[in-house]
Amino acid sequence: MTPPSTKPRLFKVEAVVLKQYPLGEADRLLVLYTPELGKLRAVAKGARRPSSKLGGHVEPLVHTRLLLARGGSLDVVSQAEAVHAFPGLREDLGRLAQALYCAELVDAFTPDEQASPPLFGLLVEALATMEEGAEAVFLHCFELRLLALAGYQPQLRHCAECEGPIEPGQHWLSYRAGGVLCPRCAQGVSPPPAPVSLNALKSLRYLQEQPYGRAQRLRLGPEVGAEVRGLLRGYIRYLLEKDLKSTEFLDHLRREGMAPWE
């Protein structure tokens, strides 16, 4: 963590642009994720004009190198040079939708100016993977890695309440307890925990415990896939107390048969 006052007047950052808002006449407000300073906001002045040199270098999902000037309330981008713009994400609607979801997840789970180089690495690697085309299960690998880095790794091997063993049989996942519950602890819990099939539990464990590369190659059937998706979404919704905006678009593509990764 670096308090703003110790930043020099001009400083360089490497960043992924998580999202942007139009600001004033022709500026953009950028939400950046950087390895050393965590999440930052900065203004790209005039970036909406075609004559701007910044434009393509500060678009969402671009991995970029910025020279920032410390400003009154917001830092100002004085130079920008894209390291990798992930053009493959911009040419495929499904890949783009997946990548925007991952960027929104990072945004939602990170406080301002709290550095996490591993999270930055996870995001850049994920963008590269999705640019090549990723299966549905990739998003779940990403969700679980991100939850772990944010301190919310679900406990899937032992009861999240009593630490007792989880026997084969009926299983429940408690979002509040942050993991699976044994039948005894699942009794009378409010809100009632979500039932989890054995297949879904095994899949979640595999995705969480196997090395990242191997976990991504797991193939889930449509039923288990939908269950795993629902459980993770429920857990994330519980933690954030809201649905992420970009899930709506992913669902829309799925409904219209425009989700080839399914």
Binding site: K19, Y21, G24, E25, A26, R28, A47, R48, R49, P50, S51, S52, L54, G55, G56, H57, V58, E59, P60, L61, A85, R90, E91, D92, L93, L96, A97, L100, Y101, A103, E104, K245, S246, E248, F249, L250, H252, M258
Partner: protein
């Protein structure tokens, strides 16, 4: 953030209210809102009334054209009813201001369709929030031969173009987009005439 900036102002209720309303407008911060308010205070009564009336008229007399969804004071709009224009081409834009920008450079003499936004998953704007279904209805058995996608070369503009391509391609209508003469991340509205003309003339098949 709002009230604290006005410490220097006398707390005259109507003054504070106008400042607050102006401050809500895009691109107008508290300082500008203050300046505009004091300007209005100094205006002759009839000029102030004309301003208020103009604001009300825009709200009451301006509607969306039921064909192209551009803003108009009569429905259908002047473009949609102009028989000298090419009825077989539809140019799809984000905002009414984009129609203005394209009309200014006079490279295009077809019809328009205004989406009123772009798909922006990260801001929760989906296809159902835009005039996309209306566009598809317009294209059904219409004799339209070309759809030109003139959306901003931003991430959201590209996402919207890709989505429209998926929907329009099966209809067998020629689909083009503006040339990449416009730099990524920029907005049509701010393009200079040369850039915009070139971009239009260099539109590409989709």
């Amino acid at each position: 953030m709002t009230s604290r900036n006005f410490d220097s102002l006398p707390t005259v209720e109507p003054v504070a209210r106008l400042i607050e309303e102006l401050n809500k407008l895009p691109g107008i911060g508290p300082k500008t809102a203050q300046r505009l308010t004091y300007h209005v205070i100094r205006l002759p009564a009839e000029e102030a009334r004309a301003l208020a009336q103009a604001v009300l008229d825009v709200k009451e007399r301006v509607v969306f054209c039921s064909r192209c969804y551009n803003i108009t004071d009569k429905d259908p709009c002047a473009v949609c009813t102009d028989l000298r224009r090419d009825q077989t081409r539809i140019c799809v834009v984000e905002e009414p201001l984009d129609v203005l920008a394209l009309e200014r450079v006079q490279v295009y003499r077809g019809m328009y369709h205004v989406l009123h936004g772009v798909i922006s998953p990260m801001h929760g704007v989906g296809p159902d929030d835009l005039r996309i279904r209306e566009l598809l209805v317009r294209l059904q058995g219409s004799g339209v031969q070309e759809v030109v996608l003139a959306l901003n070369p931003s991430l959201e503009g590209e996402a919207t173009s890709m989505y429209l391509q998926k929907l329009i391609a099966p209809l067998g209508i020629r689909l083009t987009r503006l040339a990449r003469g416009l730099p990524a991340g920029s907005e049509l509205e701010y393009a200079d005439e040369v850039t915009l003309t070139r971009a239009f003339e260099g539109r590409q098949e989709l």
